[in-house]
């Protein structure tokens, strides 16, 4: 396998890598696939087209989509501000961006639920002033997913903005472009692929998210029940078949998303002539 190298250690490292990968990841994951082979097609369709299951997919994907969109918009602004402006506390805010990533999801979940529940600090405020209830509604799920999504967007956009050549902006300006034209025609098209990647990562993560969501969601069937929770519920009822069918469907969708992300990155490199 190894070609022309005086470097030692290929056999032990690749051997360990492959064995460990198989034991920890590949074999366990493949059980999901084999397990679902024990189901026949009709049973599978029956499980998946169940009303409660379908609505949980609807809730999961729609909330993840909305949250990724919102996080994409604000995350872009945050990245822009952090890279391009200087203000007091900038380094501090920069470090804080990864907080949702470092904070265990269960903690995020109970904190957000506490803030947004009808008696909570913001929950009460929102009900009193706008009549909007956040907790135990899809809106609550969206809030939790925005929290989770922030670092994905900011951290993909930030480096691209940082590496962006200022001379390109100066060139556009010297050719007579207004500030808005410089942004919309030169800066944004160059950052868009990274923004899309960040959005897709956030969306993929949002669909599978569990810990930060279940406390604020209220988990009302047909209203605020997400797919991962439904899997857990089926498991607790010892409905292994149901859990497997739903999980496999979700896994396939996640992989399609992953594939799309890779295609997106391919397209990015192609657009900038790197291929």
């Amino acid at each position: 396998m190894s070609r022309s190298s005086i470097m030692p250690g290929f056999r032990p490292t690749i051997g360990f890598t492959l064995i460990y990968l198989s034991l920890i990841v590949l074999i366990p994951l493949s059980t999901l696939v084999f397990q679902s082979f024990q189901l026949n097609w009709d049973d599978y369709v029956h499980i998946i087209t169940n009303k409660r299951v379908l609505s949980s997919f609807r809730v999961s994907f729609s909330t993840a989509l909305v949250a990724a969109l919102i996080a994409g918009f604000f995350g872009f602004i945050v990245a822009w501000v952090l890279v391009r402006y200087s203000f007091f506390g900038k380094q501090f805010f920069h470090a804080l961006i990864d907080f949702p990533f470092a904070l265990p999801t269960a903690v995020a979940g109970i904190v957000l639920a506490t803030i947004f529940q009808p008696s909570g600090f913001l929950g009460k405020l929102l009900i009193d002033t706008f009549g909007v209830q956040v907790a135990f509604k899809p809106l609550g799920i969206v809030m939790a997913l925005i929290f989770i999504s922030i670092p994905f967007v900011v951290r993909t956009v930030e480096p691209v903005l940082l590496e962006f050549e200022t001379s390109m902006e100066e060139a556009a300006s010297s050719l007579g472009a207004t500030r808005w034209q410089v942004f919309s025609k030169v800066i944004f098209p160059n950052v868009l692929p990274a923004l899309l990647t960040g959005f897709a990562l956030a969306f993929a993560r949002g669909v599978g998210e569990y810990g930060s969501v279940i406390f604020i969601a209220g988990n009302i069937p047909y209203v605020s029940e997400i797919v991962p929770l439904l899997i857990v519920t089926k498991l607790e009822q010892f409905d292994i078949e149901g859990a497997t069918a739903i999980a496999l469907t979700m896994l396939v969708i996640s992989f399609v998303l992953l594939l799309l992300i890779n295609l997106l990155q391919f397209w990015v490199r192609k657009r900038s002539g790197q291929l």
Binding site: S2, S5, M7, G9, F10, P12, T13, I14, F16, T17, Y20, I24, V25, L26, P28, L29, T31, L32, I77, V78, V83, R84, S86, K90, A95, L96, I97, D98, F99, P100, A102, L103, P104, T105, A106, I110, V111, L122, F147, F152, R155, T156, P159, L162, E169, R179, V182, T197, G198, A204, E209, Y210, P228, I231, V232, L235, I240, A247, S254, F255
Partner: protein, 288 residues
């Protein structure tokens, strides 16, 4: 996941301040205001709330909640999980990075993709697959019962699921770095007569140490904080199979708010320490 786990050179943010073409003041200040309130609402507020709630019934209640035997057992299990998971995945990360970046072989990019796989699997599914393998109705269920070995609803299941979840962290940090470094320095050491192991310790390790620590840090944070996957395989047996995040959940669901937030404050503290160390490591890597 890639973007989040890649270190960014914070010095660049400092350096890049003077732009020839500035935006108008009102644009700049409104965007800063939007960004700061967004971060404040979604990040600072939750962080503050953990502390306020944990201490809402006073410091004594906080200490009482922390020194409860079940809490201590949860902390012990969490530490044990991290203690086993992190070294395993660190050794794997180094081995995988060495094989992938120092040799050419067929299927290399497939292997790199497979290593990332656990990142794209929902935590709940990560737990489920181990139930399918080792649960009472699972593939090895009968054999395990016959031999009186317990994996699901036991510490070993929790550790397995955590190893799966945190699998890519270290490898993820090392592969791009070692790729970029190239193997010239190692080849030089080998040509001077150093053994393979000596070369790794004297040449490779010093070059990758900050990235390695960075990966270990992130791996540890996730290992201690994982909830979804662990929740599926744990069975929530108080004092036995509850990790700290699960203990927080149980307390919260039982309306033991101080108990829940006391546990949460430890985990939030862990997150803060992780962020601080992460920033320090980013500065260290930038210096290199």
């Amino acid at each position: 996941m890639s973007a989040v786990t890649q270190p960014m050179n914070p010095a660049k943010l400092v350096a890049r301040q003077q732009l020839a073409l500035q935006d108008a003041d009102w644009v700049r200040w409104s965007l800063i205001a939007i960004a700061v309130s967004f971060i404040g609402l979604f990040i600072c507020l939750p962080l503050g709330l953990v502390i306020v709630k944990a201490l809402s019934k006073g410091v004594e209640a906080y200490w009482a909640a922390l020194s409860e035997p079940d809490t201590l057992a949860a902390i012990r299990l969490t530490l044990l999980t991290a203690l086993i998971t992190v070294p395993l995945n660190t050794v794997f990360g180094v081995a995988a990075a060495w094989a992938i970046t120092r040799f050419e072989f067929k299927g290399k990019s497939l292997l790199t993709t497979l290593i990332d796989l656990p990142f794209s699997v929902s935590p709940v599914i990560s737990g489920l697959i181990f139930v399918l393998l080792f649960g009472a109705e699972g593939w090895f269920g009968d054999w395990l019962i016959a031999h009186d070995v317990k994996i699901i609803f036991a510490a070993s299941g929790i550790i397995l699921a955590t190893v799966f979840i945190t699998f890519p962290f270290v490898a993820r940090q090392l592969i791009p770095l070692m790729q970029e470094m190239g193997s010239q320095e190692e080849e030089a050491a080998l040509s001077l007569g150093a053994s393979g192991w000596k070369t790794f310790c004297a040449v490779t390790l010093p070059n990758i140490k900050w990235a390695l620590l960075y990966g270990v840090l992130l791996c540890n944070a996730r290992a201690m904080g994982e909830f979804g996957a662990v929740s599926v395989v744990s069975g929530h047996i108080r004092g036995l199979t509850n990790t700290l995040p699960l203990h927080v959940e149980v307390n919260y669901n039982e309306y033991n708010i101080v108990g829940a937030f006391a546990g949460a404050s430890i985990l939030a503290g862990l997150a803060v320490v992780t962020l601080v160390l992460k920033t320090v490591l980013e500065w260290q890597q930038a210096k290199r």
